[in-house]
Symmetry: D2
Subunit: 344 residues, 4 copies
């Protein structure tokens, strides 16, 4: 009989080999009694039964129903996606000290790197000049730099200061850019302690040369960047959208970018794939990316590594240390519609 | 009668307003008795006459002939280009303590930023995915990331460790990349003291995931990156060429990039404009830039600012502090063909 | 009738003016309906009554008894000391989402600075040479540097990787020291993600040139640094003790330092004031500090600033952001003896 | 017959084993045909003869007389002290491209570390509290911190911005201190490009909480910090003197520190050893160090390492890269009295 902690690993839609490197897979099996651990979704009845003895479950979402009170040994629910599980009784978990974790931090670095890449591609006209060279219409030297600018020392604005912002901030550090932040969930003193300046959204848009949209979608920030707000952006500024299209009035964004009001690097869209006749597809001022910021090989393996680390922490009786921890104050703000209550 | 130091400012092919901001222009006239200071080239006879009383000359090249022994007050020759003046008797200047300076440092930051931008555009497939989106052939999410990689912690190689490299190094610092350097002009102990690892060119090419070609052209490094050398580069690595095409067997580079052996970000070409039917113009694996890394507005104003700072230093009897100082050991290596001797 | 959140501020043993700058005091009253807010302890009955309407309480400890279920609006308990409140039903708070916070983070920077100061004073013999000069027995130049060493690149060990360690790490960064960490509460992957190397306590003691004892006292680490462990320390290494004497076999430490086995910088003692005839008081190899690392003016004002910031966060429905948050998994480890349960 | 470059190594007053580690000694002999290489001074006639075939000489000073024109192969004169050689015809060397180098950079890091150590010892009262504990008169906790301050964010002033300052600046970086600099040899634009603020000496003294005296002694800066200047220092500020006592009116400094006007960390004195009855020896506000900042083991080995690196560079025809290079504009300012001219 094994004395290792029992964990249920049921990661579908992710595949085992996608999130666990060979070394990590060995580590997983070395440290835990792994139930399932296959690519296909575990049959529901079987999963519910197995959960009754599991210390933790690794899954893509909570699809096991209202069975929490029947799971006395459960200490953690770890998702392998970037979001928090849906259809889960969070209050019950909080009251019982069951940790609910998302893999969002695994995506912070790749998205931050992409955000910088999109910003530089727009500010230095990398993609547009490359396109021009392919049709023999490029301008050389100074003439090719009209409208470009260097990032060094330019005022930068972050909309949202979560894990993406914290991963992007060090990448900008050598450029010496003063960073202003709009994040209504964070108090000014915290932002200042992180070396950034709290600012209103209006001021941020009016004063920043590069604006990074990094806010997670919430019930409060749909189309936060309305047409009126977007119109405050400086001519020739750069807007980089890497968190979610939800945060932006995308039609207004499209109009303004197509009209050449400012430049934009865009990785996320309201519908994906973007319609083939969408006007952004021919906008000279845009750098377009097909939702590729997060899902890179290294990030997916970071999920596996972080999951094992936090399984270790939780099953040894310590707080989770690498994944994002659901906070009672925020969970409803992220996902009002999807929360269930099972206990009366 | 003015007691300000007399300086001759004859910057053609640069224009005065291109290199001096309004503030710097005022500073220039405030601190110095400026002769000429116009966009057109100063008539030669007039210039030669003026030089007899000048403490320093700001120019694009040395076009004043073999008159150095007739210029007793001359303490500095400052070029507004990125190169050292040609047709100048360097030995005479070194013996007399006349400082010869180039504006190369003004270009270090913009070129370094462009080098990072090209590297990220290649490694994360920014430009190629953007191109694909414009013709409706993009891949989304993971599928769009095949062959891409994150820069974090990847081994990086610098070919050449001069001002470009020293400006690029801090931009890479937050990515945690170990940096190897091949620079035959620098001793290992110096390189190690700068936090980089000296390495042979062969090893650099074989082990680096991103290779930055940053070496200035010399009489010794033409086609240093020969076909055989280029073939050592890893599949799917990224080569960024921002210093000079001189350093590379460009035909071999073209063949290998067109064949998809590795990726490349290229800002400089053996002939510019690049021939309209050049195969690189349709190479999927290339990010092309029309020699735009250096000549950005901010860099040109830095030239003016640095020139005034070093005019101040030199005319007050101090060593120059901001521009690049010609070194006796190196000057012939940079430009063997162009050096003249006027004194017997 | 005020619409500001009601907070009870009862900071005794701290004084109001000690923790709140004039600006912060104004901010406190501007944002909150402050009850009490005086230096003396609030009379208990009065305090219990006031708590029934308070959103949060700022206090030095929980001295209000088993009244939590009668406090429906309470969202936070914020201490102005560096510890967690005693005699509190933590389970009830966790279940109800009442945040329990300590001001420990306000002390992280002053203690980290003191730790570096003690390390340098020991490694470079600052205090001992200064003492020698006062009695005319100093050695000059090289002779005065026998047994000293530079911190640059020396292996450093941290015992404990909490807020002190995270504040000390950036101070050591320019010295290029590789940092190893022993912290049994943290998983290896987390430590590696912070740029430090997990290591066993034995190895840490044997390989580190400077050892920082930064662990908070717990029910598990009393005299963790036993005599046997301390004897593993290298000759001429430096041990810096700034968290708690609890962690060390202090008699053994005294013996070894008095015997000259290694050097030590010590800010905390098992009994304070240290006995006047204690042998450490004449130990040549020790740098002694009278528990002065934390209580500096700037740190105390940081308490006030952090308290107001987190009162703001909590009363607006957000998670606390600046103070240390009690974690269910750890709270019993810190303070087993002092926890009460009020609810059956 | 050897083809290695011939170098004369005559380092007395330093000893060979003091400056060359075993590895470096092997490297020296591996790369060069070493003449002499012993601890005793080489007999003069023998040395002069050997110099006629040497590519470079490693020495403590130039004691070989007016023989430069007879040394056709000499490319470098490298001192193993922190100063430039005396009794040398610098003009001849500059005209011939003979590099003159001092080992000052080897001392930059140990002196910078000591400067920080002295600053912290003064600002946090490390040495004074340690002294108090040895006589049972210490104050504990807050009471022991009266008059102390944290370095974080405090305005710092550098007097002199040479190699010491550049080594100290990164050590202060994590403390976030704004740094002002007074250095009349450097132009404002250069200082700003290094991230520091040029300032007048008066303003520096009046506004800095910690003042570092880092200027090398010159013919222009004797007693630059006069009594009047020193009186501008803020009450309770800290002055750290690590370059040379030459720069300060030492009697005035003594009076002010003894009177408790400000604190001081002092490593250098006008006469050494300091008189046994000197009032500084009992000044409560001083931290005293017996000229120990520079001569540490690691720094001396850095001399050897740097010497070999620059011998390599020079004999291969490259500029020196690690030691300090004599500059024509500055050499007379450093040492007017000591320069000789041999050529008519």
């Amino acid at each position: 009989m094994s004395e290792k902690p029992v964990v249920l690993v049921d990661p579908h839609f992710r595949q085992m080999s996608e999130i666990f490197s060979a070394d990590d897979l060995a580590r997983l099996h070395d440290q835990f009694e792994v139930i399932w651990g296959k690519d296909e979704p575990m049959p529901l009845d079987e999963a519910r039964q197995a959960l009754t003895t599991a210390s933790a479950v690794v899954c893509a979402d909570w699809r096991y129903g209202d069975i929490l009170p029947a799971l006395p040994s459960l200490r953690g629910i770890l998702t392998v996606s970037g979001g928090m599980p849906r259809n889960l009784d969070y209050d019950y978990c909080f009251a019982q000290g069951i940790r609910i974790l998302s893999a969002a931090p695994a995506f912070a670095r790749p998205v931050a790197e992409m955000a910088l890449a999109l910003a530089l591609s727009a500010s230095r006209s990398i993609s547009s000049n490359d396109r021009a060279m392919r049709v023999g219409q490029e301008q050389w030297l100074h003439a090719g730099n009209v409208g470009t600018f260097m990032l060094f020392n330019k005022p930068v604005g972050f909309i949202g200061y979560g894990s993406l912002a914290r991963a992007l901030q060090p990448l900008l550090q050598p450029f010496g850019c003063p960073i202003s932040v709009y994040d209504p969930w964070l108090v000014d003193g915290y932002l200042r302690s992180q070396g950034v300046t709290p600012i209103s959204l209006e001021q941020l848009l009016e004063t920043s040369r590069v604006i990074f949209v990094l806010a997670a979608p919430t019930s409060e920030n749909q189309a936060l960047l309305s047409r009126t707000m977007l119109e405050r952006i400086q001519p020739n500024a750069v807007l980089v959208l890497v968190s979610r299209a939800h945060v932006v009035d995308f039609e207004a964004l499209t109009d303004l970018v197509v009209a050449g009001r400012f430049k934009a690097g865009i990785d996320v869209f309201p519908t994906e794939p973007l319609a083939y006749d969408h006007p952004l597809r021919s906008a000279e001022n845009a750098v377009l990316s097909a939702h590729r910021a997060g899902p890179v090989e290294e990030a997916l393996w970071d999920i596996g590594s972080m999951v094992i680390d936090d399984l270790t922490a939780i099953t040894q009786g310590f707080p989770p240390q690498r994944l994002q921890v659901a906070q009672p104050e925020l969970i409803r703000r992220y996902m009002t519609n999807t929360i269930k209550k099972v206990t009366p």
